[in-house]
């Protein structure tokens, strides 16, 4: 099997979307599922959420943010290059049905997969309010696409350089508007915050957890998350869980388990390729 990169797109600084040839996966992919990508023979297995698929062309797409060794190296690859392996679709698909009026919230790179869900939710008849969040203005992307897919959209950033500053405005919205369902995909801190905001209003809130994973098919247990006091595996029981039940603190702690090693890998890689390439793109 050859997993060829068909096209690449820069969504924001250090954030890219790749379309990859993988007909078997494309035939079965559904919103909410993820892939495990291996970029080279000695590479690690990294989970990335499916953000689009084309069953006719036999392609799947994923978006990634360059944070460590593997995603940085992936960022250097171009259309025509091949990946060592892509496994998927993994994890349970999102529950897509007519809930009524729903809130879809995406942060950072997860805006891309969120919009796949927004599209499906809209098609099943939901009235969709979408919130796009980013750290800074330059990192917000796909705003136009979100507008065409949703009934209403809001934008927000950490520093207020675009849209609302922070997520406090959501509290105001909820005081006047009623929602039947909420989905959040983004950094853990953001999912935690949204879950806390929706809880008093009793809005069922589904978050996409991103624990460290390895096999992604239930064999190792590194992805364990505590949900409602129970130990579950992110890859096979999730990755989506009830945000009001997830132990976010533990999740953050477990995500950082290999931080020192990841730093070493990243620094060594940068040294080997002749210095940091951050300067290539304005960040």
């Amino acid at each position: 099997m050859i997993y060829k990169i068909i096209s690449t797109e820069e969504l924001a600084p250090k954030t890219k979307m790749f379309e990859v040839l993988a007909p078997d996966i494309a035939a079965k992919a559904k919103p909410g599922q993820f892939l495990i990508v291996i970029i080279s023979v000695k590479g690690e297995r990294i989970p990335l959420t499916i953000c689009d698929y084309n069953r006719e062309k036999g392609t799947v797409s994923f978006a990634f943010h360059e944070v460590g060794k593997t995603t940085k190296e992936l960022g250097q690859m171009q259309a025509g290059d091949t990946l060592e392996n892509v496994t998927g679709p993994l994890g349970n698909p999102s529950e897509i049905k007519n809930f009524g009026k729903i809130l879809c919230i995406g942060g950072g790179v997860f805006i891309a997969p969120l919009l796949l869900q927004v599209k499906a939710m809209k098609q099943t008849g939901n009235k969709v309010t979408t919130i796009l969040g980013a750290r800074i203005k330059e990192e917000l992307f796909m705003e136009e696409k979100a507008k065409t897919l949703s009934d209403k959209i809001y934008t927000a950033s950490d520093d207020g350089s675009i849209g609302y500053k922070g997520l406090d405005f959501l509290k105001e919205i909820l005081k006047t508007e009623k929602f039947d369902h909420c989905v959040v995909m983004g950094p853990v801190v953001m999912m935690k915050e949204v879950s806390e905001i929706t809880k008093p209003y009793g809005i069922p809130t589904i978050v996409t957890t991103t624990p460290i994973m390895m096999d992604g098919m239930g064999m190792c247990g590194v992805c364990r998350v505590t949900v409602g006091g129970k130990m579950l595996f992110g890859c096979v029981d999730g990755p989506e869980f009830d945000g009001h039940q997830v132990d976010f603190e533990e999740l953050v702690q477990r995500q950082r388990l290999f931080l020192p090693e990841e730093r070493v890998a990243s620094l060594m890689w940068e040294k080997n390729i002749g210095g940091c390439r951050c300067d290539r793109k304005k960040a």
Partner: protein, 469 residues
């Protein structure tokens, strides 16, 4: 006393296999047991009595023609010898290394009554290694039958079923969820007991027979078994193993530094994290590792940890007599510096401010009457709680079958409690044309029993396919 007719003299002692020195090997991941030289193999083969009714064969789950292949060694007909073994066993280089021979073929050998049994496994390994050095022979295949078979899982059960079915003329596609084939042989058993080059070789042999291998293909997520049967696939063999790790359910189990045996072994073997950062996947091992459990998996974790530079203590809730690991492995591990703490079990893990494990609270056990497994049941002793310092814990208390296939195959009968697939004596499941074998049927067992199950099922599948128009 009257002088009796002198019997032919039998050497009572086996020829030992050379091993790496413990002090040296504990610092590397190279194979511990180095294999016989030709002289040693000939000397050991000479001990075999060539019994007319060989007991040893009864002890082998796949009935390797043991006296016949040993005779070939005696006559230095090595090529013939390996063909003799391969008539029954497609993975001799693996079995010769990891079969628990002392409780299978060798325990039955008549020589065991007067001294050491013949070292059948070592001789099997000798021939398999000889073949690797001299090139594989590809056996003749039956003419194509036009029938198509899917094999789920490229572990020993799946590899064996695939090898047999393709030689019978069927078209075989093997689906493997991980990115490398081999099952436990590649991701579980460490390099120093079973070099991965050997597993790759055995898989290459099966590919050379013409089996189409699709890796990174999780059956149940891409194709389900009912879907496969709706297309041009006539029969399916499920050999998906027992890869789901078990945890203990005690407080603090999600702290950093607490690995399941599978996580630890997959990192090291499949992802080669012992060679980080050359390979991208890291593993963090502290100074004081506690391995919980007492089986072969626990020994592999302990011995791998020592090689990564840690001091290792094995914590087992029963006593030494009940240790389920192979005697040879326990001895190897102790030579390498393993410390064992028997009759104790963990109650709780405590973490530091960063969420990393720093100690564990345990309780001592005493042995009560035997439980359903026939071993004496451990009973906690009130007031015997104690604390152990540790910075890495590996939980090796068993695995159960991965439930994905069972959940996505309607009509497949399973044992709900154990998660295993139910089959008849031929490996046939509750679904027409679907067979299963290996750990997914028995729960965690052995390489050779998984292979035996693959063989049995292949035979039954061939019959099924032949009768089918």
């Amino acid at each position: 006393m009257t002088e009796r007719k002198p019997k032919p003299k039998i050497k009572k002692e086996e020829v030992k296999m050379p091993k790496q020195d413990p002090k040296v090997r504990v610092k590397n991941f190279n194979e511990v047991a180095l294999g016989y030289t030709e002289e040693q193999a000939l000397e050991e083969a000479a001990r075999c009595l060539q019994c007319v009714k060989p007991q040893c064969v009864d002890g082998c789950p796949v009935e390797v023609p043991i006296p016949e292949f040993i005779k070939c060694i005696k006559e230095k007909k090595y090529a013939e010898g390996i063909i003799t073994i391969k008539s029954k066993n497609a993975l001799p280089a693996v079995c010769g290394r990891v079969c628990p021979q002392e409780e299978q073929c060798q325990v039955k050998c008549v020589l065991g009554k007067i001294g050491d049994p013949v070292s059948i496994g070592r001789l099997e390994r000798y021939l398999a290694d000889w073949e690797r050095d001299h090139g594989f022979q590809i056996p003749e295949k039956a003419p194509p039958t036009g029938k198509k078979v899917a094999v789920v899982g490229a572990g020993p059960a799946g590899l064996t079923a695939a090898a047999d079915l393709i030689q019978l003329g069927h078209k075989v596609t093997m689906y493997e969820a991980l990115h490398l084939p081999g099952g436990v042989l590649i991701y579980g058993i460490p390099e120093f007991r079973l070099p991965k080059a050997i597993v790759r070789n055995e898989v290459a042999y099966i590919e050379k027979l013409g089996v189409e291998l699709r890796v990174g293909n999780l059956v149940g997520r891409i194709h389900t078994i009912p879907e496969l049967l709706k297309t041009d696939t006539n029969a399916v063999f499920i050999g998906s193993g027992a890869g789901l790790p078990r945890f203990m359910g005690v407080e603090g189990e999600n702290l950093g530094g607490i690995y399941s045996a599978n996580e630890f072994l997959i990192r090291n073997n499949l992802m080669k994290s012992f060679d980080f950062p050359e390979y991208d996947t890291p593993v963090r091992i502290g100074k004081h590792v506690v391995v919980i459990g007492g089986g072969n998996v626990a020994m592999d974790c302990a011995r791998s940890s020592m090689r990564l530079g840690a001091e290792v203590c094995l914590l087992y809730r029963r006593s030494r007599d009940e240790l389920p690991a192979r005697q040879e492995e326990i001895e190897n591990a102790e030579e390498e510096g393993l410390v064992c703490k028997f009759l104790a079990a963990p109650l709780k893990f405590n973490g530091d401010e960063k969420g990393w494990v720093k100690s564990m609270e345990c309780i001592a056990m005493e042995l009560g009457p035997p439980d359903e497994s026939g071993r004496r049941r451990p009973i906690p002793m009130k007031g015997s709680e104690f604390t152990m310092e540790t910075d890495t814990v590996i939980i090796a208390i068993g695995q159960t079958p991965n439930p994905i296939i069972q959940r996505t195959t309607t009509g497949l009968e399973v044992n709900l409690k154990r998660g295993t697939i139910l089959v008849d004596e031929n490996g046939k499941t509750s679904i027409q044309g679907v067979y299963a074998g290996g750990d997914v049927v028995t729960g965690a067992a052995t390489v050779i029993s998984a292979m035996g199950a693959g063989k049995t099922a292949a035979k039954a599948m061939h019959k099924f396919l032949s009768e089918k128009k």
